[in-house]
Symmetry: C2
Subunit: 308 residues, 2 copies
């Protein structure tokens, strides 16, 4: 095989209370990527998407940087051509950089006869994620690669756990046309947290996992509450609490910031509720003259897939 075309989906990280440890894959949107073996050394990157701000320098590109590591690890002396079509807007909060990183390492693994395990691919993908956020985290890369609703229990060593969840769980998303850099969103976080709030948070994390496992939609909803990160990050998204309120009135079980925002997401029982919630969230932004895309998606069980 000399070339391969793959798709890696967007994802929602944190999921309310589960900052840095929870994430799930969406069905759509996602990034497409074509990888071609070439005789000359190095990695050439071609951008076929309309987002021109993305660096084509492999060292500064979310797809390029993990590929450099990949090739070094398999001692490959020739090069690769990477053509990507980003269908996720950069800095949306639904894992655009993670999807690029996931697509690139997944494609390379298929192209070179699967030298790495899924977990090793997550570790390689985190290298790409660090280009965008400045820190190594896996709560977008892992779902984008492996699919499903995932727990990143630990980073040292990396421990990724696939969580069971109700079949009928849907996600509603509203992506307002506001830009937040992940690095800025991390800067507003404090280095210490109130112990009592931390206890509330892990009570909610426990409730969310229990609710997902027992298909208890009410428990899922009331457990999503984030008492640590949302209170400081909400200020970065204009009208956030109005959007959340509107989602909660229109079929959402719970509503929170997707990753570092600005996308706001809601978990819902069934497609109809998710449609209603996503429309309601979009309307709040539109009424404030902020253009806003919306999506509805089930949890994507597949993650990255081959397209050709």
């Amino acid at each position: 095989m000399k070339n391969i075309k793959v798709f890696a989906p967007a994802s929602v990280a944190n999921v309310g209370c589960g900052f840095d440890v929870l994430g799930f894959a969406l069905e759509n949107p996602g990034d497409e990527l074509i990888l071609r073996k070439k005789k000359s050394k190095g990695i050439n990157i071609i951008n076929r998407s309309s987002y021109n701000s993305i660096s084509l320098d492999p060292e500064k590109n979310c797809a390029g940087k993990p590929l450099l590591s990949f090739l070094r690890r398999i001692h490959y002396s020739e090069g690769l051509e990477v053509t990507f079509t980003r269908k996720i807007k950069p800095r949306s909060g639904i894992g655009s950089s993670a999807a690029s990183a996931a697509a690139s390492v997944f494609a390379a693994n298929e192209l070179f006869g699967k030298p790495f395990s899924g977990k090793e691919l997550v570790e390689l993908g985190m290298i790409g994620e660090s280009v965008a956020s400045g820190s190594f985290h896996a709560d977008n890369v892992a779902p984008s690669l492996l699919g499903g609703f995932l727990l990143i229990r630990s980073y040292t060593p990396l421990d990724v756990v696939k969580l069971s969840h109700p079949e009928n769980l849907y996600c509603a998303l509203a992506h307002p046309d506001i830009e937040i850099k992940t690095m800025d969103a991390r800067k507003v976080l404090k280095k210490v947290v109130d112990f009592k709030k931390a206890i509330t948070q892990w009570g909610n994390v426990a409730g969310l996992i229990a609710g997902l496992g027992s298909s208890d939609f009410s428990l899922i909803g009331r457990s999503m509450e984030d008492v640590i990160v949302e209170p400081v990050r909400a200020a970065l998204i204009p009208h956030y609490f109005a959007v959340k309120k509107s989602a909660m009135k229109n079929g959402a079980l719970g509503c929170a910031i997707s990753g570092s925002g600005p996308t706001v997401f809601a978990l819902c029982d069934g497609f109809d509720n998710a449609e209603k919630a996503s429309r309601a969230m979009q309307q709040v932004f539109l009424k404030k003259n902020i253009s806003c895309d919306r999506y509805v998606s089930k949890i994507n069980p597949h993650g990255a897939i081959i397209l050709n």
Copy 2:
């Protein structure tokens, strides 16, 4: 009905990573309590156990104080005689005060035709718990009353969630003859925690709930790790890390301090492993000339029960 005899079991709170939110009921030991209606006003308390340090003043007694609230709430103008036989040593870390409180409110509820729900009984029981610890918490009272492996997701409002767990999950316990007051154990805790450690902690809480739900014993074990409370409380229990190491080498999935200690517990896959682990923990204390009781128990699904 004029009198009733009940049993309420000991319990393990925190369960490693789940400080203040997780707890489960043991089969043994437990407290027995007889409640008798009497014509005269007030609550008389009779102690039939060998632990003489327990106050017989209803306002200062774990069983008496919640009963005073109970009787006020049902507008009962006569009185009660409470005879208790404590079979759990006070300040053991396996919920002795919670078992007394649970036994008293459970018995009263049965005696007066069940005026209160299980959740309301937990709230009443917390009044008794506060006599011992100085704070209102439910991670011992709730399992002692309701049985099972429980999550106290929230206190405002109280939200108690029954968690599924593997049938073959056993608990090994070693109770060294050391006294730690819950109030002192709470004093060593800081009011703020490192954010990164809090993230590690809720990752572990998530892993523990997922492991319990999917009967993944390895996940249960590696998720029990507590990076916040154990490091400061371990110093209150001599030889704690040697005891833990010995348990881990002898069949334990994970090992931690039960409640505020000094009892150390381990979760194990099956009775044989729990027997091995409890003996191993006991041996470490005995070799250091600290006398030590040991117990092995399944998760008790019943909680408080009527005996006569």
